[in-house]
Amino acid sequence: MALQSLDIARRSATTTPAPGVRQTTEVAKLIDVSTCIGCKACQSACMEWNDIRDEVGSCSGVYDNPVDLTAKSWTVMRFAEVEEKGKLEWLIRKDGCMHCADPGCLKACPAPGAIIQYANGIVDFHQENCIGCGYCITGCPFNIPRISEADNKAYKCSLCSDRVAVGQAPACAKACPTGAIQFGSKEQMKDYAAKRVVDLKSRGYEKAGLYDPAGVGGTHVMYVLHHADRPELYKGLPNDPSISPLVALWKGFAKPLASVAMAAVALGSLFHYVMKGPNEVSKELEDELEKEDAK
């Protein structure tokens, strides 16, 4: 019997595999940007369900509010006015955790169990175990996690793991008025996306496509984009993101290598001592000095 309601695939800072014989369906959230009206219902539902209320901000000359993700805003809409060849497009993207198959945050996290990847693909933060170091931010290719100023813990979208665990869709997906956010098995979502891409191509968006970046092993939050060839148009969605090589080095190779190297030095010293013996002051020299003293 598992001790949790969702099976675990990976947990941060844990070197042994989680119980993994059960097979659960991978889930995914699909954000069809082409049918998103930027109404922020997802933001509202997210705040309501997760019992988080951000500060009342101010208008900075754009519709983006809150202006960025915070520990209390796990998802925000990003609005971009793009005018090309005289045609205006208002590209609106729901930003938030992508729930990568290969999560940079989890890779970077030093606190065991602070970040969990469930077998269904959800990457969840467990604030009880979080030590507030911010390594997850360093590891994330999408700039998602935020440290709370109140408790110095990292927060981000949980894909409503509490809802998913009991068989419900995440709050944002359920709320989305136009159905721009869909939720289901990853396979279903890919099929649905394929249909949407066909529709978009028939409407003249020849470069429409699915954003499920392979660089992070695919994601469990995917986008249908009208301009899949230029994700950066959508307020800087990274083109071909991956875990930074620096992070890969830091939390990949370097970890065992350095540990072994340090151990080797320690062991080397020990063996040196055993094999060569201590470096004592020579008896002759001591005698010589004793003699001198005796004079």
Binding site: K40, G113, D162, P177
Partner: protein
Amino acid sequence: MQVSRRQFFKICGAGMSGSSIALMGFSPTSALAEVRSYKLAHATETRNMCPYCSVSCGVLIYTTGDKSKNAKADIIHIEGDPDNPVNRGTLCPKGSGLLDMVKSPNRLKYPEVREPGTNEWKRINWDDALTRIAKHMKADRDANFIEKNAAGVTVNRWNTFGFLASSAANNETGYISHKVLRSLGAVAFDTQARI
């Protein structure tokens, strides 16, 4: 779980250095990873409707307690009603935030009066408030009611009193308000419909 070759080496490498420490008495504590417990598990569900726009989305209101005598029902969550054929469980940013309207710190809790020329509210009880209002209305009506117009036609009209009716109230509220208003002879009333 599928373990790739790379992962295998990683695990071995880490395991080796880890196990040497483990011998010294350290072992990573097993971190429990239970999801946040489902907050509606024992809440009471009530079917209602969003009071904002005319899509009139179905909503499910969740309250604490099971309606037993001593457990005061408190609204803790509102989400879309998936059965409603129009919204099918979806809600817009206003509907999704309904909880904060219901629980707004700006909800009125007690009858109040602002006396003429003063600069503050005074709390009064319901009976006093409604009695004072009724007295005002009766005095006004008795003074300004028009039974017949200049041509001698019975008009039974009271038009020095006006009423603006809520468009977010129930049909039944609208109906009874209309019924009461006409019985008083009131004609100066309107709704939000054309604003």
